[in-house]
Assembly symmetry: C2
Homo-oligomer: 155 residues x 2
């Protein structure tokens, strides 16, 4: 299985960055997983949200190849962790394409990116900050791999 994760910009919160590194390192012990922190729009006022989202979309698109694309989206489908593990396992066994997860910036993902998705995934009905979502996603990927491999999840 080849995993790729895309999101715009480096994680700014120090603690979240620490957790992110922790999970990435753990995931990479089990499967190859590449994180690409794509281009962010800098110096643009938040009222120009459309412009910011467009710049970020262009940055993400550069790294969206022909893999299976899973976008994190608030209105997406929810699964429990066992279902998510089965879902990833099926994907990996039916194709050699990379599985690419895409998470948005603080304004979310532009429609053109959501349209490219093969699957829209929601991690919770609740809204979390875009940086919290990053570690929630990484924890779920790590948990899925341990479920698939029958490893005990580190508590």
């Amino acid at each position: 299985m080849k995993l790729k994760i895309l999101w715009p910009g480096k994680t700014r919160n120090r603690e979240i960055r620490g957790l992110q590194e922790f999970y990435l390192e753990r995931i990479n012990r089990l499967e190859r997983c590449e994180l690409v922190q794509t281009k962010v729009a800098r110096g643009i006022a938040e009222r120009f949200a459309d412009r910011i989202k467009k710049i970020e979309a262009l940055g993400l698109e550069k790294h969206l190849k022909d893999g299976y694309i899973i976008c994190l989206f608030h209105g997406g489908r929810e699964m429990n962790s066992a279902e998510f593990a089965q879902f990833l396992e099926k994907l990996a066994s039916s194709s050699s394409r990379a599985i690419t997860f895409v998470a948005g910036g603080f304004l979310g993902l532009e429609k053109r990116i959501l349209k490219r998705a093969d699957f829209l995934l929601s991690l919770s009905q609740m809204t979390f900050s875009h940086e919290s979502i990053r570690i929630m996603l990484l924890e779920q990927i790590y948990r899925s791999l341990t479920i698939m491999k029958g490893t005990q999840y580190a508590k």
Copy 2:
């Protein structure tokens, strides 16, 4: 509104502890919120799960007074953040009782604690580590208070 949060034992992960302090401090700027890290079972092998959960339940019970009790539970009800804010607002306006959130340790909550709950809440269909759940809960409480107070949520 008087908020209280209970969970067994101090948070061990340094980054999660940092995020916990961050959110608690923010929450306390808006409403009084007390965190009590209750007694944990030490030195008992994990195969004695029932014993561990019982000891933790006794520790939690000491701090469960007559407030409204919300237990985090995997099979509980999900809400989105706006619904959660409305739910807390209604609770606060209909009674002066404290609102007490209870989160379990790595083995979850014992039945006797779940039975005491006025409400069982699920933050996600997915399973997260008990320490991740702590910051997810704190972020949602903080988010709810900012929604109630019309403050802009800090990104």
